[in-house]
């Protein structure tokens, strides 16, 4: 039984928590970082990194299959799932090692174990009492299910999906959001038949509607089945597989069902309620500066309602560390945080969709332009189709960038600067983008939006 004192105590060592810890020690604060599992959290171990490794193996499989189109003679002999696993695990292990080294080198005290909040300044970890002038809650999220839908056996969530040691013949995916479509994309590339079930009218329903429609078209072309706008009713399983029944009576048979219906906050039983933190359905409520109702207690990452993304966690962690250090950092709204869905084709966006912009600014106060990647040389060379859609305030700044196509995720950094810096298309048009890149498709779209399209009518 011991007591340790820090300027900042961080509960949870995922993206949000470790970023807060790293930034806080940089600012001269002492930090105790409490983690019950592995530093790096969901993103590093069972989220962003391993899924993107799988998606790269999937890309390699597709390239190998289609190599003939580009004059390369290859025989594709299937996917060796054990080797995919070794690749994926190797990537995670090396990033994990790097992160552990960094946290150590920066002088952060890591406390292993499950922490419980016992007062606004105190976290109990087993027999140890960890006291902080400030406490940052960063306990992250878990894969949710639906009421009455039990996970187990052939009904799995993303954690088990990652570790599957075989390629199923047929998969049903419940949920057409980012995690659902990413796994659907991987499995299809690996040779499985895939069927997505989404209750909302579109795949990736949080994206610009025209992008969702294009993704649906692209998935259809890839032979990925999906059912939209009809809710899941029930599932049964036996040794041969699962049968999913929808509310309209349709059934989908498959080897397994992936449940990808969103992630809930990991806050149950951790004492937040008892200590008096204001909560809503398990989420921790904060003001826009991430302070909870209790002085000195902050929250970051997936437990704060809004986008559940690793880089939002990083940003919030850095923000709170700077806030505690008195640097008065600037708030970035969720809407201006970039989002990428890494399926094939990729989807990337930042800022307002056309519908949201019309709601906020008035339909007659905005202008949009959609540039077809068919006009973009590099995209043709890569063999991808897609588009870039821009939303601007009429005679005002660009407020939305929405893209679909192979590799477009890497273009969102430029979109992010444009939207956050309130650039006008006219600021960009004198700066002709490099040729031939996919990047220049953004340039073409801005030129068109400024009323001076170059390679388009």
């Amino acid at each position: 039984m011991s007591e340790q004192n820090f300027d900042v105590v961080v509960l949870g060592g995922g993206s949000g928590g470790y970023a807060a810890a790293l930034r806080a020690v940089q600012l001269g604060l002492t930090v105790g970082l409490i983690e019950k599992g592995k530093l790096g959290g969901t993103c590093l171990h069972v989220g962003c990194i391993p899924t993107k490794a799988l998606l790269h193996s999937a890309e390699v499989a597709d390239v190998s299959r289609e190599a003939g189109k580009y004059g390369v003679k290859t025989t594709f002999d299937g996917v060796d799932i054990a080797a995919v696993t070794a690749f994926r695990e190797g990537i995670v292990a090396s990033k994990y090692k790097g992160l552990q080294g960094l946290i150590k080198a920066r002088g952060i005290t890591v406390i292993a174990g499950e922490g419980h909040l016992v007062s606004p300044t105190t976290v109990q970890v087993g027999d140890d009492t960890i006291v902080g002038k400030n406490v940052i809650l960063a306990t992250g999220s878990y894969s949710r299910s639906l009421p009455g839908l039990e996970i187990g056996g052939r009904v799995i969530t993303s954690e088990q999906a990652l570790e599957l040691d075989y390629i199923p013949k047929k998969v049903a995916v419940l949920g057409g959001g980012v995690i659902g479509v990413e796994f659907a994309s991987v499995w299809k590339s690996f040779g499985a038949d895939v069927s997505i079930i989404e209750a909302l009218p579109h795949l990736v329903p949080n994206e610009e509607e025209s992008v969702s429609k294009q993704l649906e078209r692209a998935f259809r072309k890839r032979g990925i089945e999906f059912s939209l706008g009809i809710r899941f009713k029930s599932v049964t399983q036996d040794e041969n597989g699962v049968v999913v029944t929808l509310e309209n009576g349709t059934t989908v048979e498959a080897d397994i069902l992936l449940v990808a219906v969103g992630r809930g906050p990991s806050t149950a039983g951790l004492g937040f309620d008892e200590v008096g933190v204001t909560m809503d359905r398990g989420f921790v409520l904060t003001n826009e500066r991430l302070a909870t109702n209790l002085p000195g207690v902050y929250a970051v990452g997936d437990i704060v309602p809004g986008l559940q993304l690793a880089h939002r966690g990083f940003q919030q962690g850095i923000f709170v560390a700077e806030e505690i250090a008195g640097l008065n950092p600037i708030v970035v709204e969720d809407i201006n945080i970039p989002k990428i869905t890494y399926c094939d084709p990729e989807v990337a966006s930042v800022g307002y969709s056309e519908a949201k912009a019309a709601e906020k600014f008035g339909a007659d106060k905005i202008a949009t332009y959609e540039y077809n990647l068919g006009g973009n040389g590099k995209s043709s060379i890569l063999g991808t189709s897609g588009s870039i859609k821009l939303v601007r305030v009429t005679d005002g700044p660009i407020i939305g960038v929405h893209m679909i196509g192979a590799r477009v995720g890497e273009l969102i950094g430029e979109g992010q600067l444009i939207v956050n810096w309130e650039a006008y298309p006219e600021d960009i048009t004198p700066l002709v983008h490099a040729h031939p890149t996919q990047n220049e498709a953004l340039g073409e779209a801005f030129m068109a939006l400024a009323g001076k399209p170059l390679h388009a009518m």
Partner: protein
């Protein structure tokens, strides 16, 4: 000193915003870049000048809004 109605080219949204946050319109400055493009240093110099001016004027008790912009940057 900004001339009313003058519009110099500003290509950087950052430069425009910096001016706006300090209460003037960057395009009212005479830029020192090529073809009088308003550069960040022009806006920074103008802000430094505003700070000096406000020191001077606050010494004799008058408001230092003589150089404020005539509207938000376009």
């Amino acid at each position: 000193v900004p001339q009313a109605g003058r519009r110099s080219p500003v290509v950087s949204p950052l430069v425009r915003r910096l001016a706006r946050e300090n209460g003037f319109d960057a395009s009212q400055l005479t830029g020192s870049g090529r073809d009088s493009l308003v550069l960040r240093r022009d806006v920074e110099a103008h802000i430094a000048g505003l700070a000096l001016a406000s020191l001077d004027t606050s010494a004799d008790g008058t408001a230092a809004d003589g150089t404020a912009a005539d509207g938000p940057a376009a």
